[in-house]
Symmetry: C2
Subunit: 175 residues, 2 copies
């Protein structure tokens, strides 16, 4: 089945989750334990819950007020949730900056270790790409750590296409 058919077609499942923020949302998956896994575009997240998620994968802590500002100025935020009954837990996250037109760059992609190796990273990224494409963004980019280059390659990302190099500026260069 092609990517487009899998992810870009309307949902066909009849099982819907009543998300904490209202609206019926199609779950990505319903686990054997009855947990509904789904994504939303909420950006008014509990930032301490987001910090916990980032802690869980060992990321360096960032000041909460800066994270809040960065979320407010991200073009896209995708949050992945696991919900059972009325309790939901943030289990994944990604965001993108963009000029709203041509280019987007995806940052801070994370899945909680308890939920890794179950295809949820792919589901999260497919949601991000679908959302960006729905906004007619033509150039979807990211900077991948060495260990996840293969993961992104399997999702359709190409490293260094036509010799284009991702580059980072370091002030130390001038010390």
């Amino acid at each position: 089945m092609s990517f487009w058919k899998t992810w870009f077609s309307p949902p066909t499942s009849t099982s819907a989750t009543k998300a904490s923020n209202g609206g019926a949302i199609q779950p990505i998956r319903v686990t054997e334990q009855g947990e509904h896994i789904y994504c939303t575009n909420e950006r008014d997240l509990d930032l301490y819950e987001l910090e916990e998620l980032c802690d869980a994968v060992g990321w360096a802590r960032r000041p909460i007020h800066k994270v809040k500002k960065a979320l407010a100025h991200s073009f896209l935020v995708v949050a992945m949730w696991s919900q059972r009954g009325s309790y939901r837990r943030l289990i994944g996250f990604a965001r993108a900056t963009s000029d709203h037109t041509f280019n987007a760059t995806i940052w801070d992609v994370v899945i909680h270790p308890d939920f890794q190796n179950q295809g949820l990273g792919k589901a999260l990224m497919d949601r991000v790409i679908r959302d960006l494409r729905a906004q007619d963004i033509s150039n979807v980019t990211l900077f991948a750590d060495r260990g996840v280059v293969e993961f992104y390659r399997r999702l359709g990302f190409t490293p260094d296409p036509e010799g284009i190099k991702g580059m980072f500026w370091y002030p130390d260069h001038f010390a």
Copy 2:
């Protein structure tokens, strides 16, 4: 002299250009022909003049309404001008997307061929970096075409630091 001392200290030149948009602006250079070269952060540019500039370096044309939207949603726009008397000409351009906090990505860096190989690309990029650093952006990134990787390296950009790869998503991958 260190980068910081060169570019981050207050202007010391006493020669100032009265830019078309008002305000006295320190020129980067005054040519032998009396042209003042300077940068501004105007984003309300004449988009046809910008298109001419991009045409001059052979870039593919983009719909004007999209360019307008992209400029409006760029975090930073830097325009470089050559001015003689009251006539000014757009000779360089760059912009950046950002989350206003952690990350910025620089796009569409261009210097008109008539003004290349005079150090103005460096001056334009130094202005971009200075503006981003003044906003406390810590992670300044870009995607460099093969032919300009060396140019950016000399400005302090590192390709693939710690194995991080710039990656682009291509829908064709799934065709």
